[in-house]
């Protein structure tokens, strides 16, 4: 079966991309994960990897042309699959049709339910039995293309089988509530702070806080899913991402204060919010929760700092080293259980950030404040144990940076939960993004 | 039954013609004996059915035919191929399944054909050639230039429905077809005295209102004469005939046949009436060609058979993908 290569969405803000260069010609074989095309967005130029192995059958957007996020860039035929020009055109037509439908529905408030043509529908029953989802081949393919989780789709076909219409409806419902995402800059005591806002304004509020050496881009695989159900904000902390990088105090305490002022600046609707913090961002969130417990609805700590003394020294060394692609690749490799997660585009993205003016200095300052001497300075276990609101520690089982054992500290809280994800390193929100999204969304959504 | 050594038709045969017929018979005999040896040595895939002993029928009939005339044959078809002029090298190559074979290796012994020489194929279905020859007769009649179709079939086929249907059709449409029954006394392992409800196949001709004669198939002159009459009749537009040639195959139904159903005495008795030896004697007695001259012919034939085998053994097999070609003229 053929696969459509679409214009990626790097972060919520990206709207269009420019095709800089095709790295493969029509007729050439491609391997899944192999770079196929170079795309330039407003932020960066990156390579896009082939989503599937096969042969590059057709290039839809040539070099030098722009296309919106999600638009079809090329058709990759499966190995041995022969597609006539008519079939290629049909594939592209259908792909555009699906995306057009989704876009049309996306502006509506509330969930839009599409009724397929035909007579009466059978009662909507879940299509999962014994772990295997009942879905037609076409529905499976569509679900893959649209990143719809079949387990969450209700099927209306024979015996509750999920059909294409069901998948389309689920995709629309997921998108419909999302609304537009907003990229903005908030001034926090003179520090220009870059952030993204998305999701229905009347939904639960969630703030995402990245870790050492990261930025709001770390949440790229999560925000679309959350934006369907939550009003979210992801920020670049002071000294990171596209926010200002003044020479200042970058300790956890200072960053927690920064967070408080940032939320004040966002507006009264952010007075009380849930927090999701990764790594050092988890420590920041935890510290904030300890100081302002009335402002924190629920807390999610993702492979968080602050729950023990151990931290991987080599990772810290690599973070501190000169931001060359080799160093960054080596650093990033330690973040994942599966080294193939470190794609060229990720390395390039990180390098671009680390080489901005002041970025390297701010990074070193932050690292030294929290982890100078190769150990964690901040022990927030007592703070955690004293929290009454629901707390979830979610951790990668194979975390090579901060040991998974630290997650157990969450059990000391009155309403503490621990979730360990297998086959996963320090960044479960990237490496096991679907499972992460499901688990965290379910945790945040509980009544 | 008549031996027609002195009949007018035979008298008209000159030495060249007689030597040609002798050479053809010897070619068939040596070809079959060589095939039998090579088959026993495991060189030939599939089945072979040897014609040795019956040479006089093929040669006696085909001597009257040109490339413009048609013949159909059966599973014991090597003799007809040779008598109709199919190339020896192509024949051996076909037995070995080589690309240079008459059928590009796609048919094998039972399906050797050369349509351009009017040889419409050996046939693996007993009785299969009868309607085909009748159809060739229909073409001949439509084309109106005096072509003839000859159908060689065995005593076994004489009972098949296709025999009866074909003779009837040829009769009602007066087609130029000569049906030549090679009665070698056995249909596989079953003797004709059991399997046939009449004594001679030629008796059945009356049922289809056409001339039917029985001749000594071991006598080249008898075959030649009867065939000549029937073929001339057909060319004149007077319709079909049936000729039954009583003959004998020296080897089994197929190579590998234990031939338990025939006695050694019977085989020896037929060998003593060998058609080639008879012709030799006749040519010597009439002073047409002495033994030495005929021995020389034998040697030349041996050379050509050897050459054909050398050629065929060296020839390449077809590529496996060739299995996919030649099903249709075009598809779609």
């Amino acid at each position: 079966m053929a696969t459509i290569l679409s214009m990626p969405k790097w972060g919520l803000a990206m709207k269009t991309g420019l095709v800089v260069a095709w790295l493969k010609r029509p007729g050439e074989a491609v391997r899944q994960g192999e770079p196929v095309v170079e795309i330039e967005s407003e932020k960066a130029t990156n390579e896009v990897d082939a989503p599937a192995s096969g042969t590059l059958r057709w290039i839809e957007v040539p070099e030098g042309e722009k296309a919106p996020v999600g638009a079809a860039l090329a058709v990759i035929a499966a190995a041995g699959e022969e597609l006539s020009d008519e079939q290629v055109a049909a594939l592209l037509r259908e792909d555009a049709e699906i995306k057009r439908q989704r876009a049309a529905q996306a502006g509506h408030a509330g969930a839009a339910t599409a009724t397929p043509t035909g007579a009466s529908r059978t009662a909507r029953t879940p299509a999962v039995a014994g772990g295997r989802v009942s879905a037609s081949p076409a529905a499976r393919r569509l679900a893959q293309e649209l990143s719809v989780d079949l387990a969450a789709v209700t099927g209306t076909g024979p015996g509750g089988m999920i059909g294409r219409e069901d998948v389309l409806r689920a995709a629309e419902e997921g998108q419909a509530a999302a609304g537009e995402s907003e990229e903005c800059t908030v001034s926090v005591n003179g520090i220009a702070t870059h952030c993204l806002l998305a999701g229905p304004t009347n939904a639960r509020h969630v703030v995402f806080i990245h870790g050492l050496g990261g930025s709001l881009a770390t949440w790229a695989l999560n925000l679309s899913a959350f934006a369907g159900k939550f009003r979210l904000c992801a920020l670049d902390l002071a000294g990171a991402g596209d926010s200002d990088k003044p020479v200042t105090d970058y300790s956890v305490a200072a960053l927690a204060n920064f967070l408080e002022r940032f939320l004040d600046a966002l507006g009264p609707e952010w007075q009380r919010t849930s927090l999701v913090g990764h790594s050092l961002g988890g420590a920041v969130a935890l510290a904030f929760a300890g100081q302002h417990p009335e402002r924190v609805e629920r807390l999610v700590l993702v492979d968080s700092a602050g729950l023990g003394t151990e931290i991987d020294g080599e990772t810290l060394d690599l973070v501190s080293s000169v931001p060359t692609p080799e160093h960054i690749r080596a650093e990033l490799t330690r973040f994942f259980a599966d080294p193939t997660m470190v794609q060229q585009s990720l390395v390039a993205q990180i390098q671009q950030q680390r080489t901005q003016p002041g970025a390297y200095e701010a990074l070193l300052a932050t690292k030294d404040a929290a982890f100078g001497g190769g150990q964690q300075h901040y022990d927030l276990r007592a703070t955690l144990a004293g929290l009454s609101q629901p707390v979830l520690a979610i951790w990668g089982e194979a975390d090579g940076v901060i040991p998974v054992a630290h997650a157990e500290a969450a059990r000391q809280a009155a309403n503490g939960h621990v979730e360990i994800l297998a086959h996963c390193g320090h960044c479960p929100h990237i490496e096991r993004s679907e499972a992460f999204n499901r688990a965290v969304m379910a945790f945040l959504d509980e009544a | 039954m008549a031996t027609k050594n002195d009949s007018p038709g035979v008298q008209a045969l000159d030495k060249a013609h007689l030597l040609h017929m002798y050479e053809q018979m010897v070619t068939i005999r040596q070809f079959e004996e060589r095939a039998g040896k090579e088959f026993a040595a495991g060189k030939i895939p599939g089945f072979v059915h040897l014609y040795a002993g019956e040479e006089a029928v093929a040669v006696g009939v085909c001597s009257h035919l040109t490339d413009d005339d048609f013949i159909t044959s059966h599973h014991r078809g090597h003799g007809h191929c040779i008598a109709k002029g199919v190339d020896l090298r192509e024949m051996v190559a076909e037995l070995l399944g080589k690309e240079a074979g008459a059928c590009r290796g796609k048919g094998g012994s039972m399906h050797i054909a050369d349509v351009h020489k009017g040889m419409l194929g050996a046939n693996g279905i007993v009785g299969g050639g009868l309607p085909l020859a009748t159809g060739a007769g229909l073409t001949a009649k439509q084309q109106g230039r005096g072509q003839v179709a000859v159908c060689f079939f065995g005593d076994g086929a004489a009972n098949q429905g296709t025999f009866h249907e074909s003779l009837n059709l040829a009769g009602i449409w007066k087609l130029p077809v000569v049906y030549v029954a090679e009665n070698n006394g056995y249909a596989e392992s079953t003797p004709v005295t059991y399997h046939m409800s009449c004594r001679d196949i030629a008796e059945r001709a009356a049922g289809y209102h056409m001339p039917g004669v029985t001749v000594d198939g071991l006598n080249i002159f008898a075959v030649y004469e009867a065939a000549g009459e029937a073929i001339a009749r057909a060319r004149r537009g007077e319709g079909p005939s049936l000729i039954e040639c009583k003959t004998y195959r020296y080897f089994g139904h197929f190579e590998g046949d234990a031939i338990t159903y025939r006695s050694k005495e019977e085989v020896d008795s037929y060998r003593s009436r060998d058609a080639i030896q008879s012709l030799r004697r006749s040519l010597a007695e009439r002073g047409i060609a002495p033994d030495t001259e005929l021995d020389a012919v034998d040697e030349q034939v041996q050379e050509r058979i050897d050459d054909a085998w050398r050629f065929a053994e060296a020839a390449p097999l077809p590529a496996p993908e060739d299995a996919l070609t030649d099903v249709y003229v075009s598809y779609p």
Partner: protein
Amino acid sequence: MAIAIRQLTYAQAINEALRIEMRRDPRVILLGEDVAGGATVTGFEEDDAWGGVLGVTKGLVNEFGRDRILDTPITEAGFVGASVGAAATGLRPVVELMFVDFFGVCWDMIFDQGAKLRYMFGGKARCPLVIRTMIGAGMGAAGQHSGCHYSVFTHMPGIKTVIPSTPADAKGLLAAAIRDDDLVVFFENKMLYGLSGEVPEGEYVIPLGKADIKREGSDITIVAISRMVQQALAAADMLAADGISVEIVDPRTLSPLDEETILNSVAKTHRLVIVDEDNPRCSAATDIAALAADKAFTELDTPIKLVTAPHTPVPFSPPLEQFYIPSPERIVATVQELMG
């Protein structure tokens, strides 16, 4: 060149194709039982008593004479085999096997001789023969005169199978079959002989191996064979009232099969029903279903459904025969089941 349009029946269209091709090529001859009828009867020297049992070849002997229109005795193996032999030696015969159910009597000549001689002779021979034969139930002709069985012929390498559903298709496809150099079996549904339709005048050819979209639609693809095209069209009208848009694909030729048109249609509608009057086991319907399951797997939103005759011979009594033949109602029910 086809210019004007007028109405002909399916039978008349076939007659016209034969006439045009016989004028065009003197090597084309017709053979079969009673294709003229009355052979050697006084008064029928140049006239036909029947012109075919259902009159399809009526009048041809008047123009072409009894040297080119040959009545045969009832000896299928003999005259079908003779047609093979004639085709292999330079004629272009069109032989009629009156009812397809008789193929057992001459099957060797068709499948072991005619279909295989080109291949077995290494491509050095050809059999440009057309076998016309009647198929189809509905006339009360019972078990030995009502079958379809084109699947058996389609199965054999070396045979091409053509099954027209309209008069215009019948004329163009028969012309193509006669001009084709391979063995083509041309299946005429006897229940369609009276069907009228627009048929272009003059000479035209519809290429073998090209399907036809008889009705465009978007919700479901129905592949229908022979008279089932007409049944499917009736079903589509009924379904349109329910807002279901049916696309009907008529393969017209089963061997070679126009896979692309069928697969493109399934890629468009994502649902496939096949309607086939033949018995269901090892049929054209299962063949096409396997094709879609293989090459359109990820396009399918619902299982492939086959609407066929049952696994029985054709019954005689009218209510039984009507039960046997796939009806528009049965097609509608199957589609509705898939559409939910």
